[in-house]
Every structure is written in structure tokens, then in C-alpha cells.
Amino acid sequence: MALLEVKNLHTHFFAEGSVVKAVDGVSFDVEPGETLAIVGESGSGKSVTAMSILRLIPNPPGEIVDGEIRFEGQDILEMTDEQVQDLRGNKIAMIFQEPMTSLNPVLTVGRQIAEPIELHRQAPLDKALEMAKVLLRKVHIAEHDKRVSSYPHQLSGGMRQRVMIAMGMACEPKLIIADEPTTALDVTVQAQLLELLKELTREGHSSLILITHDLGVVARYADRIVVMYAGRIVEQGTARDIFERPHHPYTIGLMNSIPKLDQDTKEKLIPIPGAPPDLANVPEGCAFNPRCEFAVEKCRQQRPTLEPVAVGHYKACWVDVRS
């Protein structure tokens, strides 16, 4: 059984008489132990999807209007607030992009890591603080015995993100959701943290949902990929499927438009024309149709559904662009 099943998720935001369909009918599974990357540009709905899983959507203006989110078979959307709180930081952990704003500035990092342990494991504070030290060592923070009493501002950006990871790992979660976990960090530090995250998820047999726009990161760390555009999934498959045999014109366009470190050519990049749509005003039919060179009349009228093109590989496109 899949660890997480998201079915037909719709998360909308209501403002000034208009509806922003940030997530508009998204379905995917996460298997135990796998790393699933959700890829997309700003406004594609990837972060809102992640926030919806833990019911962290601010209401108002946001609301999950339809769908199911089953974790270990139980629908999170049907749970009481207490039940959801019992999941957060316990069986499902979230690691945010900005470690400076997501850590409490007036609590020592030890206290912050100890908090979920006290809460979910009913451990006394001194014991939880001992465990916090162990966790700091696990995320390779030097002098972890001392660092446990540091405040966030005394740490570098990379160390803060290590603290966030330690906090996420505190209760040995089954699922970790990392939303652009290294985007704000330098390249060398980014590599350190992603390797750490990979090592820890492997060790704990946890699943990881990695939300990113960086296709290099996806290629290195993802087992499977979900590609999102304008609140919908346009393609889904294994990492090899998506990079080597992309089927959706948007995925193909993305692959062609990025310069590649392993290809030293002066050939022109092939850009995707236009810009992503305003989510309050998504085009009829396929949301990508105004930017798509393959679009036919049907694409402008009917919204394509996600259909298999091979085992485990799906696309939402009316046109067979590979033949």
C-alpha cells in the first residue's frame, strides 16, 4: 500500500470575488521509502500541494474544497484538529525553505528540537534535550554539546537548515516534506544538506517529497517526478522517464530551455514562449495551450486527463508529440 495517496485534490483561494485555483485536481501516491520530486515554476501549485497535505492552508482565504489525502489509509481531510496535530512533526515532518523565519528566534535550538520529542514522545525535557544533542550530531553540527544552547541568530544559514532537518527527524517520521530546502543556500552547502537528507531518509526508511524548481537536484535525488503546471499535474513518471523520454510539451520545453552543465555547447537554448498564466484566469482546455507549439483545437476546448503512456508514466496531453 502506498504511504500517501493524494486523490483529486483541489485547494482554492478566494479573494475579491475571484477564485485562484492554486491546486486544481491533483492525484499522486508516495510509496514507502521513495523520494518523489514535485517540480514546477512559481505559481504551479507545488508548495500549496505540500501545505495541503499537512492542512497548513490559511483559511480564509484558502480552502481545500475537494479531494482526499490518505496517509497510511486514513484521510487527513477527515481528521479532527487534534489528530492532525498528532501527525505533524511526528509521522509527517516538514522542512521549509527559509530556516531563519521558520525557527523561533527566542528559543535555543536544543529546545526547538526537543519540543516535538516532548510533545509526541511524552519525554521529560532533560531527556528530550539529550536526544536533541544526538540529533545535532546526526546532522553533522560540530560541537553539538555546545550548539544545543545556541540561538538561531548565532548560527549560519547552513547550520540553521541543519537544525531544521534535526527537528524534522526528531520523531523518526515516515514522511518528510521538504519545500525548496536548499534554495536560499550556497551551492557547496546545498550539496552537503541534500546528501544529508538523502542519508537520513535512507537510514530511517522514510519517504521524501522534495519540492523544487531545480532540475539538477531532481535528477540526482528523485526516484519519481511529478511535473506541475498551473495547479495541475501535466506529467508523472520515474526520473529516467521524465528526463529521457518526456511526453508533455511543457516537460519537453523545460528540458530544452535549461543550459546543461554536462553539455559544453554554444548552441542556442530553445525557450518556451510566453509566461505562465494568471491562476485566477487559467486558459480553457489545457492550461499550457497558449504556449504550446503542438496545440490543436481540442487543446483549447477540453481539459486533458492524466493518461498512461507506459507503465508508471503518465501525461495529460491530447497530442502524441513523440510520434
Binding site: G216, V217, A219, L254, S257, K260, D264
Partner: protein, 334 residues
């Protein structure tokens, strides 16, 4: 390598031993100086006519400050800047003004670098007014229309305000403004890093086309190594205020010689799962140290897997190890 002709290419910009040091003051009634941040510390490079010099490094390495100081948008504390054969580092504001027409800047953030209360036509046209380049209203209109078309926008868009444009379009406006005064040299400070992936290629292609059409030279400051590889003729790598390696694009990416350049290139994952599955990442420890209190000797030595005794005490000079390929590292002491 990398350059087509065998003749010595013409230098457009020549920066020599450039330093930008910021004083640190103690807080209190009397502003006592207690230290100095060496944001840029003895940087030397040339930009040849028609080429793109890429400048890469992590945050705080001084790459943006180097760009700003080259245009004298912040004042250097030492060194010289030659532009089109003339030392501009000591020129007065008044004498600098006509030269500013020839050197322009494109900024990272197309949201905060455009005045939200000005119509796009006037944002683009302002440099024309400042430098008295448009004689009449009709001329002004004609030139701004032309600039909009050059960057792939429509002339009717000139009467709109910046908020009506997408990120990619705003960056086109920023480029049009830079082009208004017919520059020969443009410093691009992370021009695509705030843009969505699908939009970046549009702007990169535009910049390449404009370079061809107008014979522009670029100093392209960025942290994205793949983008820099794509657009650059030569590449300089900075670490804590110094250039640690500079070479042709090909040499730098195929034969990176400074341990820091090697570490950077190994740290970046490549958008190719088959390759990544086999590729070993040797990941360097630690983070970039504070420029307030940089390590002695080679400032990379605490993180360097190859560091030896002299690296801790002696600062390595930038030395040529191959034609057009220079490295600041004791391993190449010779």
C-alpha cells in the same frame, strides 16, 4: 582558446588590483573604527571587446561588489579601472558622466529595479533625457519605440506601468533601459536568477542576440554555473574577495584547477539522472567564512582537501598555468 582570431583581442575594460574595503564601526557616540571588511581584495581582470566574462562565486564572495565598483557605482578603496583605454578610477563625477553612457548595468530583480510610478516609456527614456540624447519629443518617442521593439516588446506597451508586466518582460524593460544610451559594456548582475526556469532561456537568448547585433561586451555576474557556462567566453571564479581562477569557458569547466573551482563544479547536480547515478560527489566541508575575519594565507585553506603548511601562512598570487588560464593556488607554485 575559445577566441576565434589569433590577433591579440582588444581590451575594453581593464581592472587592476581593485579593492573595496568597508570600515566597521563600533556602535556608540564616537564612531570608532574597529575593523574592515575586505569585500573585494586585489582583483585583476580584463574584458575584451565583444566577449562575455562570467563571474561566479557564492554569496559574499564579492562578485556583485566588483561589478558595482567597476562602474564606480561604489567607490573602490584601491586599484585602477581602465575603460576604452582611459583610467576612469580617479575621474570626477562630471567627467565620468559621458563615460557612463558607454557602461550600463542590468540588475537582478526586475521587480524592485523599475520605478513603479513611471510609465515604461519613461523608464526606458530617462537615460536619453539625462544624457541629452533625444532632441525633440518625436525623437524621444521614436527612440523609445525602437528600444521596446529591440527587446521583443511592442511599442504600445510603452504607456503601461511596470506592474502590468511579467517578470521576464520586466527584465526586457531593464535591458532596454541599459541599451538606450548605446553602451559598449554592460554589467549583468544575476539577470536571470529571479526568473522562472521557462523564462530564463528567453532572456539569455535575447542577451546573446543583442551582443551580436551591437557588439556588446558583458560582465555576467551569476551563481548558476550552467548559465555561466552557456553564456560566457571566459569565466572568473571568486572566493572571499579574490579571483581564485580565471580561464576560457572550456578550460574552466573541463580542466578546473583550483580546488575551490573543482569543489563548486562537483557540488552542482547535473540535470541528467543516468549521469548522476554514477557520479561521485566529493563534497567539501564547512561554509564560506566571514569576510570580517578571513582565514590567514589562502582563505580557502580551512575547507581545502589539499591544503598544506604554506597555504595557512602565505596568500597565493594569481599565476598563469597555461595560456589564458590563471590560478591562485600553491599547488601550482612551480
Amino acid at each position: 582558446m575559445g577566441r576565434m582570431s589569433t590577433a591579440e583581442p582588444e581590451k575594453l575594460v581593464s581592472v587592476s588590483n581593485l579593492s573595496v574595503h568597508f570600515p566597521i564601526h563600533a556602535s556608540g557616540v564616537v564612531k570608532r573604527q574597529i575593523g574592515v571588511v575586505k569585500a573585494v581584495d586585489g582583483v585583476t581582470f580584463d574584458v575584451f571587446k565583444g566577449e562575455t566574462l562570467g563571474m561566479v562565486g557564492e554569496s559574499g564572495c564579492g562578485k556583485s561588489t566588483t561589478g558595482l565598483a567597476t562602474l564606480r557605482l561604489i567607490e573602490a578603496t584601491g586599484g585602477s579601472i581602465h575603460f576604452e583605454g582611459r583610467d576612469i578610477s580617479k575621474l570626477s563625477r562630471g567627467k565620468l558622466r559621458p563615460i557612463r553612457q558607454r557602461m550600463q548595468m542590468v540588475y537582478q530583480d526586475p521587480y524592485s529595479s523599475l520605478n513603479p510610478r513611471m510609465k515604461v516609456r519613461d523608464i526606458i527614456g530617462e537615460p536619453l533625457t539625462v544624457h541629452h540624447l533625444a532632441g525633440s519629443k518625436a525623437e524621444y518617442r521614436q527612440r523609445t519605440d525602437e528600444l521596446l521593439e529591440i527587446v521583443g516588446l511592442h511599442s504600445y506597451m510603452g504607456d503601461r506601468y511596470p506592474h502590468e508586466f511579467s517578470g521576464g518582460q520586466r527584465q526586457r524593460i531593464g535591458i532596454a533601459r541599459a541599451l538606450a544610451v548605446n553602451p559598449s559594456f554592460i554589467i549583468c548582475d544575476e539577470p536571470v536568477s529571479a526568473l522562472d526556469v521557462s523564462i530564463q532561456a528567453q532572456i539569455i537568448n535575447l542577451m546573446e542576440d543583442l551582443q551580436q547585433e551591437f557588439g556588446l561586451s558583458y560582465l555576467f555576474v551569476a551563481h548558476d554555473l550552467a548559465v555561466v557556462q552557456h553564456i560566457s567566453t571566459r569565466v572568473a571564479v571568486m572566493y572571499l574577495g579574490k579571483i581564485v581562477e580565471i580561464a576560457s569557458r572550456r578550460d574552466l569547466y573541463r580542466n578546473p584547477s583550483h580546488p575551490y573551482t573543482q569543489a563548486l563544479l562537483e557540488a552542482v547536480p547535473v540535470a541528467n539522472p543516468a549521469l548522476e547515478a554514477e557520479r561521485a560527489h566529493r563534497i567539501i566541508e564547512g561554509e564560506v567564512p566571514s569576510p570580517i575575519n578571513p582565514p590567514s594565507g589562502c582563505s580557502f585553506h580551512p575547507r581545502c582537501p589539499m591544503a598544506r603548511a604554506e597555504c595557512k601562512t602565505v596568500t597565493p598570487e594569481l599565476k598563469e598555468i597555461d595560456s589564458g588560464h590563471s590560478v591562485a593556488c600553491h599547488l601550482f607554485g612551480g
